[in-house]
Amino acid sequence: MRRFVISQAKNLIDQTRRRRPLPNHKSLRLRLLSLAAAPDSAPVLSSPRLFSSSSDMSGSDSSSSSLPVTLDSLNPKVLKCEYAVRGEIVNIAQRLQEDLKINKDAYPFDEIIYCNIGNPQSLGQQPITFFREVLALCSHTALLDESATHGLFSSDSIDRAWKILDQIPGKATGAYSHSQGIKGLRDAIAAGIEARDGFPADPNDIFMTDGASPGVHMMMQLLISSEKDGILCPIPQYPLYSASIALHGGSLVPYYLDEASGWGLEISELKKQLEEARSKGITVRALAVINPGNPTGQVLAEENQREIVDFCKQERLVLLADEVYQENVYVPDKKFHSFKKVARSMGYGEKDICLVSFQSISKGYYGECGKRGGYMEVTGFTSDVREQIYKLASVNLCSNISGQILASLVMSPPKPGDDSYDSYIAEKEGILSSLAKRAKTLEEALNKLEGVTCNRAEGAMYLFPCINLPQKAIAAAEAAKTAPDAFYCKRLLNATGIVVVPGSGFRQVPGTWHFRCTILPQEDKIPAIVNRLTEFHKSFMDEFRD
């Protein structure tokens, strides 16, 4: 007869407090030891201590369905979370696109133009040649032994591939790496951070991830234990944050950016929201700042950044700095400064501020979304906390090697004197100047529309115009059971084939309406987009003008 070793559940903080009832379920706050709870204890079977209250969570609703997994019995956090960037409007667009193939004449447009997502290479942007040369050589290392390779690849890409492969044990790009990422690549990234900021970076602070998003999820998982844990997020925000907070069962504490002052971030607003959350019993754990902003595109002034750093230090908040658009700045009067640089130049070190800085290979001028590469630089945490971050990273073993290589290339690109430097710079500047131009062209066009105001895109990849929707339109939207901005966006899609994301997907000041449009379609498509949008808007206003 086998014996199970059963260990008692330990009571932890607010164990007996009930959760706020969720649809169909109540749950108790029990803390359980799971099977491999601690390496020095014998394996245990999880054993909940039953409290007196009833829970209708147990049982698989077998009376209502013979299947165990149905919509009713899914994790409610999954049901609750939303992600508009690939939400309803995009689904409609995809169906239209399919139909367009067979029913070309049924539509007033002949293609769908996806302006909903920051996915540059899907709209014709070319990857940086040098980066792809290095990746190809690292993919198929036998190429490096062939003399013919010198005729097809630049000499510095060959050198760089050798250098990278020497940093990978056994030159095995198909092997799981260290869970934080290959050490030599982290060294290159740390050197790149130091060159950018003028302050040292430690490769051991770097955790490489499949894109920046998994790093954000990791931090949310670490910081959030219950809905009593709050994360301050900008409104409007990139909905990864709201979705991740919902998935981890926390609370989003909104702070409103000020549209009238170019989406400015006021410390007084931060303070106000923080105090209000605390008065409701929420422990605010972190402040998320997206700089340059998404969807709003503003680049923070350095003075503003110093205030934010001080605020986090005083209020003991972890600063989550989403800096994935750091290479996308389009205006001469603004410059990107990393929060790490700002904090260090204020004299703040490891003991003063907990800072997590996120970077990605998806944006910038490289736009390598599909490769899934990125990292977070974690500073100011004690070693026991860092061990937990490492542990979380290790469960997934490691991020994809190709993405890791690309991240190191992005942070240490060709230098003057390198063979590929001239062509690299030409490609980079070509892309960035084109982005700046497109940002300006679209912004001007939007500002010409009746009832529309649009702040300039100082950085990032988006425009976020404000539409003053007439009352009639709002009423029509309500009748169609749709948010007014979603109503507008659906009409826009059906009339023009242009896909944008309604502002409600990012949240906005109640009673205001926006949509997010990327600046990414190729330059030659922009005039047509402007024309179609202008025409549509005019007819929309003609229909709904009060």
């Binding site: 020095d40 014998a42 993919s139 097809l152 092997a175 799981y176 599909g370």
Partner: protein, 478 residues
Amino acid sequence: MALEYESLNENVKKCQYAVRGELYLRASELQKEGKKIIFTNVGNPHALGQKPLTFPRQVVALCQAPFLLDHPNVGMLFPADAIARAKHYLSLTSGGLGAYSDSRGLPGVRKEVAEFIQRRDGYPSDPELIFLTDGASKGVMQILNCVIRGERDGILVPVPQYPLYSATISLLGGSLVPYYLDESENWGLDVNNLRQSVAQARSQGISVRAMVIINPGNPTGQCLSEANLREILRFCYSEKLVLLGDEVYQQNIYQDERPFISSKKVLMDMGSPFSKEVQLVSFHTVSKGYWGECGQRGGYFEMTNIPPRVVEEIYKVASIALSPNVSAQIFMGLMVSPPKPGDISYDQFARESKGILESLRRRARIMTDGFNSCKNVVCNFTEGAMYSFPQIRLPPGALQAAKQAGKVPDVFYCLKLLEATGISTVPGSGFGQKEGVFHLRTTILPAEEEMPEIMDSFKKFNDEFMTQYENSFGYSRM
């Protein structure tokens, strides 16, 4: 301090993942100090000298740098079928490797996966029910995240198990309901054990929602028989459990008595009502098999009998991560539709694949026999997967010494093994085992020519260890 250990999410603190835990960290430290370490802690073939298959690397290199395809001399470096295949996969993307794909993965690749499943099982497979993921682990986490609502939701997990399951259940705040595999029956699964585990869990108020099987097993290596699979599916039907079929080692089969049969095939063979009602999610990867492309992070899951609205929710969550990495999706496409007889690259591909599989089969034998030649070690044969999981009888003296050192006995043994020989294993306690029984997990992946020396090194250490600890407790020998 803004963030202190005390205020971290408890679920994070509780979760453990021994594969890269204490032993691995110690091994890494020793490696930094200059000691030669043989890492057998994780199924990571390329790290131990296995070469990548040539054809997929050629195809993906061309996809990484599509401008090569326009170069007049590209044929000097790449065979024509690799060039054609690269063009094919690039045409399936919406902008090459650098564009986010559909959040479920490229439709064209999912179609190829569906065709593979159909060829393998003889039943149709719907690409809309196949989601590509950044490694199978991400897929497992996504599905468990849907199923686990709270600590009262239990997931049946084999013991010993691959600790992704225990770690994920812990992180999600659910309950792990263990069912013990029987070491004396070749790690067989007895349905009575399952029933007992479920009854026990239910008596404690746990709602058992899902059952995990790992076939071939990890760390145990056993291949489930068709009869066993039928029993399991019947059990899931009557107990209303969704079956999670971790089939990542389906290419790694080292005996002929029990070839791999997918859970889906058996389910479909069983016909109504089972085939229409049992909910199943099957997982596969490019990391294992004879491909071993761990670093690409490529995997998929296929859903059977999952309601459309649930599929939508899973899609919604997948979309937050935007898309799985596109290079790995191409690897997956290549894995499910490899070179065929008549293709230019077929002979080389077949030779490379066969070579790897046959060598793995030989290494499985060498290792099992080597362990069994030690008198205090009993080792079931590695029927499949990539691991050997010998049982080590530890004398009371060793148990005592372990206790004094503050270590679980198998951790103690494995640390000593590491320090003496450089062999880095994972203690059995990381996978779960019967109380008082100790194992270690090693891989069968070290190069074939190094195997004899590694086994000798182990034997020497083990004999010395036994001598030391058998005698140190002499007066109380029972």
